[in-house]
């Protein structure tokens, strides 16, 4: 969502410079110089904070990942790429990567598929629309940990709501390997579909009403209108939602930690969970850092791919 805004800003930025010019001239060169200096002072604290809490830790994590470093033993020794060599042969890493990718792909697809009809619904005028709008924000506002607990209760094999609704089915949702990851996906879908729907809704509101009027005059069916007008014009919004949601889903931690802690038999272990366990349970800061850097690299690659696709869409328009 943000890169578009940035580009938009650059576009009208050019216009603004022209308009500002006369005032600036009156102020003289010194005034412009002073403005620039003050601008740097105003952004300096934010830059320092971002560098301190984000940039430095990332670089430090990369440095730590080149060490054998067990916290409790205080042992710290440079091993170069040793941790990464181990990582490539670590079956648990590959399974965590697979779980993360599967979780991300399925959760984000379902969210997009549900969000489009929800957004179309939210855009229509009907009595009670305000209620629905407020209601869909409820899952978004609930802390992920709380929603995971809430679903864990509903997934309870003995007296959880879900098995009750399935008329006494006896499914151990969180304890059976095939089910647990899908249960986690359901929790994610419940929590974040509203957010995706809001992004899609903002996209819908940007489509000019004339196009629909013209389509009506031409006698186009609702489905045809949706396919030929709504969907193509919604594409940038959908791609942005895809970008934001997939990066977010890829770092999933809270929901899975609370639902299953990565079990049963590591079938729900994602990269963040595996890295967390290695860091905080085993106290292995070297390999744990390598795992977290690997997660970071995956996210960067994913972002680069999506941004490229998004950029191409923009050019095509």
């Amino acid at each position: 969502m943000r890169p578009l805004e940035e580009r938009g800003e650059a576009r009208d930025g050019a216009a603004r410079v022209v308009a500002v010019e006369p005032v600036r001239k009156r102020g003289g060169r010194g005034s412009l110089e002073r403005e620039r200096r003050q601008a740097y002072w105003l952004v300096a604290p934010a830059v320092l904070v971002l560098a301190g809490v984000a940039l430095y830790p990332i670089l430090a994590a990369m440095w730590l990942s080149l060490h054998r470093f067990i916290l409790v033993f205080g042992e710290k020794r440079f091993v170069g790429l040793g941790n990464y060599a181990y990582l490539l042969g670590d079956a648990r890493f590959w399974s965590a990567l697979g779980n993360t990718a599967y979780f991300t792909a399925v959760a984000v697809s379902v969210e997009l598929l549900l969000a489009v009809p929800l957004a179309l619904l939210l855009q229509r005028a009907f009595p009670g629309r305000g209620l629905l709008r407020a209601a869909v924000l409820v899952p978004w506002a609930i802390p992920t940990v709380v929603s995971a607990r809430l679903w864990a209760w509903m997934f309870n094999p003995d007296y959880g709501l879900i098995n009750r609704l399935l008329l006494g089915a006896d499914i151990n949702w969180l304890g059976a390997p095939g089910y647990a990851l899908h249960a986690a996906i359901l929790v994610d879908v419940w929590k974040t579909t509203p957010f995706v729907a809001l992004l899609v809704l903002a996209g819908l509101q940007g489509i000019p009403e004339d196009l629909y009027r013209a389509a009506r005059v031409d006698g186009a069916s609702a489905w045809r209108t949706f396919r030929s007008i709504t969907l193509p014009l919604l594409k940038p919004a959908l791609l942005l939602a895809l970008l934001f949601r997939s990066l977010d889903a890829f770092r999933v931690f809270d929901a899975i930690y609370v639902l299953t802690e990565g079990g049963p038999a590591n079938t729900t272990e994602t990269l963040s969970i595996y890295a967390y366990k290695t860091l905080m349970r085993s106290g292995d800061f070297g390999y744990g850092s390598a795992l977290s850097v690997a997660t970071f690299v995956c996210v960067v690659v994913l972002a680069a791919v999506w941004l490229r696709w998004l950029g191409r869409e923009e050019v095509a328009r």
Partner: protein, 270 residues
């Protein structure tokens, strides 16, 4: 357009309402369900037992207070640092603007786990590991980028003429920011505050990693560790969850429009 509600629309509304509200209502019902009766299909009566035992039998109020402190610290800190920077990004010309906004965006995409190990070591080294202040610091990793983006788009919406008039009247850029534009950006500040507050209130990974003593825990951590030795106290968990969530639900419903405009600030509209 005339509102015409078809059967399809009505069904869709009911389906979505059930899906999004149902689990939360079930949680509320569970919290009022008598403790010994959870195995039964339906409660014989409703009771506040779970609430009294959570609020007075456990240090839960303390935990809520901790969360309030961390969220308030993070929010205040981000607003002070972020509003100045956002003003400069929106209204002043300087080199590196685009880079800064992209950097903020990139930071918000970091997986938090990627920064956990060094942050842990830093906080331990400076003696802030098990402290609420120490927790508010890493929270700025996700809260400051959010603040910058939302506030920059708000400042951009304020007319440039205001800034120029203040300058012509002899204000320095900083005075123009503090005396003229900042007061006008109040709605934007409120939106940002709500969003940062909600995000900080909900944060889990850093809180789980950096806080060790039970009395220091925040709400999500306390709820995640809410097990007793013999069985899961589902009624109490439900009651604690409702207590932890209700303020946010009320906030969200009240400021729904604000939150939506903040979340989609500069998003899909061009």
């Amino acid at each position: 357009m005339k509102p015409r509600v078809g059967v399809g629309t009505a069904l869709a509304v009911v389906a979505f309402l059930t899906f999004f509200l149902g689990p939360f209502l079930w949680q509320v019902l569970t919290s009022l369900w008598p403790d010994g009766e959870l195995t039964r299909p339906w409660p014989s009566h409703l009771t506040l037992e779970s609430y009294t035992s959570v609020l007075w039998g456990r240090p839960f109020l303390r935990v809520v207070l901790n969360s309030l402190v961390v969220a308030a610290l993070t929010t205040g800190f981000c607003l002070v640092v972020g509003s100045a920077a956002a003003f400069a990004l929106a209204k002043l010309e300087f080199r590196g603007k685009g880079v800064l906004l992209s950097a903020a965006l990139a930071v918000s995409m970091f997986p938090p786990i990627a920064t956990v190990s060094p942050l842990y070591l830093i906080l331990r080294a400076v003696g802030l590991r098990d402290s609420l202040v120490g927790l508010a610091l890493p929270y700025t990793t996700f809260a400051l980028p959010l603040t910058l983006w939302v506030l920059t788009s708000f400042f951009k919406q304020l007319p440039d003429e205001l800034y120029r008039a203040a300058r012509v009247d002899g204000c320095t850029p900083f005075q123009a920011f503090r005396r003229v534009l900042l007061p006008l950006a109040a709605p934007g500040l409120a939106t940002t505050a709500i969003l940062v507050f909600i995000f900080s209130w909900n944060e889990f990974l850093y809180a789980l990693t950096f806080l060790t003593t039970p009395e220091k825990r925040t709400v999500p951590v306390a709820i995640s560790l809410f097990a007793s030795e013999h069985r899961e106290p589902w009624g109490e968990i439900a009651a604690a969850s409702v207590v932890a969530t209700l303020p946010l639900v009320v906030l969200t419903v009240l400021f729904q429009r604000r939150i939506v405009s903040g979340l989609t600030a500069g998003a899909v509209k061009e």
